[in-house]
Amino acid sequence: MNLLARARGTLDGGPPLVLVALFGVLGFLVVTAASSVTAAKRTEQPRRTQLAALIQQRRSQVDELDKAVTELRDRVGREEKAVASRNAGDRALSDRLDVLGRQAGTVPMRGPGVEVRLSDSSRTPPEGEDASAYRIHDRDVQLVVNALFAAGAEAMSINDVRLVATSPIRAAGATIVVSFRPLSPPYVITAIGADSGRFAVSDVVKLYSRWRDVFDLGFRVRDAGDLQVPAYTGRVAVGTATPTETP
């Protein structure tokens, strides 16, 4: 029987069967590897789009809930006023609540003040220079906010996100996050009650005026007669902290 000889390729006339068989195995392997690589890529892609869709959905949910909070607080306020109109004790309580609400920042406010607009440099950073010097960071926003408070600001918002006593201004990667809301540039800081004269002579303004010239950073201060800041929609309840003995 010359089948063995044929399989081992020792017989002339046609390729050895071992070679033929392993070519079959090779074809099988190539297709398997190729399809599994593309499958791996395909499973990765939808995960990204799913994540993006989830973020979008959650953001719109947050916006809706924000609106609901404002509406409900309005209603509570109206009901309280209605109750307060009936007797004096309730009226005193309602007045006190009013004052506390204003101090806590749960009421939208309006009034004269200063508006500061911060934006990244429009210039592309030159080769070899630190690109981060041409961008606005969380630290920049913090400095300007502190300077505005020092200039007498009473109610402040950044890109329509109200600042209250517990609002953090921080960075998540390259994004500035205020009260856990991610912001996108330009950053408009609205400060009701800030004195433009006092703000103009602060060190921060001098610093940023210089950086505007050097790095072309966006820094514009506007004195406005009628500014508006929205109400804070986050949680204002203080749970863990308790007052120490009052004197």
Partner: protein, 108 residues
């Protein structure tokens, strides 16, 4: 001709059966395939040069694939990208084998 036909049958079989490979193994399988391609061309070349030996061919085919996959795995454990080494070595050998095949078939 018969080898080419066998290649197509193998590929078709994979398309029909749709074997699923765990994602972690995908990289190693790809490397093993590169090594197997080299062995296949080497076998074809030796066949045309009439130095074909079935035992050497089968052992080379299997061991090359296994060693390539193993090297990449070791590289992953060590944090060194050894897949580049496998690709370069077998890439060069594939070109050499193909060049030898071409000279044998078309002459020159």
């Amino acid at each position: 001709m018969l080898a080419l036909f066998s290649l197509l049958v193998g590929a078709l079989l994979a398309v029909v059966l749709q074997p699923s490979v765990p994602q972690d193994v995908t990289r190693y399988l790809a490397m093993a395939v590169v090594a197997a391609i080299d062995s296949a061309f080497g076998g074809l070349r030796s066949y045309l040069e009439r130095t074909f030996n079935d035992r050497i061919f089968v052992i080379a085919f299997v061991s090359n694939a296994l060693v390539a996959a193993f090297l990449v795995w070791v590289g992953d454990q060590l944090g060194v990208d050894l897949s580049t080494a496998v690709v370069v070595v077998f890439g060069v050998r594939i070109f050499q084998n193909v060049a030898a095949l071409r000279r044998r078939v078309f002459g020159g």
